[in-house]
Amino acid sequence: MATELIGGLEVHVDDEGFMTDPNEWNEELAPALAKEIGIDELTDGHWKVIRFLREDFAREGQTATLRRVSTMANVPTKELYELFPKKPAKKMSYVAGLKKPVGCV
């Protein structure tokens, strides 16, 4: 499996570049991942989403969808699109060191 050097750490990634081992992620890695996809600064809003994704993944074993984030973490859909422009589902997962969500909604 491919590895990549992010924020000085070597992490395993899939064909699309998403991290494959959630245990290799930590909060120090998130800003580096964010920079890779053009998000220069992680605000409290970003962190709220990232931390929810991590907690939810730990419980459910899969990445939450946008709808799940908006209803369970109380982050309005509009805000998700502002925080992670254009492709919020993929971008939030990437920064949280998770695979992209598989659910349709």
Binding site: T65, P76, V105
Partner: protein, 172 residues
């Protein structure tokens, strides 16, 4: 390599024409629409004819699925098609709709209004068909105020042609 999100080059545009107002087809439109906007695709949804049920404010929370003349719908838990005789009994449409609502909820699919709002909030534009509006204005006194406030405007088929230029179209 980080994933290529191609923010600058996402110029794809999708137009969904919603011509049916039943629960399953209105939902199908929103599932596709939601997928499109979350991929950074510009989305326009055009409601025409029966599709108006999904944008008429007092109707949009009460969309139904009909078991009548629907050979794909089986008696639950079996491979037996539901006979029209059975499906036509009073209350069967409400029953089937309630069941489908419940199943969708299990899968995290929101009810119509909430789903529409979600897709709207993600940047989609919703349009109502001029001819349908005029017809319903004549037959049932429909006014613009009766439409869900997420509807951008009432536009003609020609307007839709201009709007959809360069886009892909899905007819539902």
């Amino acid at each position: 390599m980080p994933p290529k999100f191609d923010d600058e080059t996402t110029d794809r545009k999708l137009c969904i024409i919603v011509s049916k107002g039943t629960m399953e087809w209105a939902t199908a439109a929103m599932v596709l629409g939601n997928a499109a906007t979350s991929e950074g695709i510009e989305l326009h949804v055009f409601f025409t004819f029966w599709g108006f049920d999904a944008i008429i404010d007092k109707r949009m929370d009460k969309l139904k699925i009909s078991p009548v003349a629907n050979p794909s719908m089986k008696v639950p838990g079996t491979e037996i098609g539901m006979s029209n005789m059975l499906a036509g009994l009073p209350g069967m449409t409400a029953f089937a709709s309630a069941m489908m609502n419940k199943e969708m909820e299990k899968l995290g699919v929101p009810p119509n209004r909430e789903f529409m709002q979600m897709v709207h909030d993600s940047g989609a534009k919703f349009w109502a068909c001029r001819l349908t509006f005029d017809m319903m204005e004549n037959t049932m006194g429909l006014t613009k105020d009766d439409l869900w406030d997420g509807v951008e405007d009432i536009i003609s088929a020609n307007d839709f042609m201009e709007l959809s230029e360069g886009g892909q179209i899905i007819f539902i």
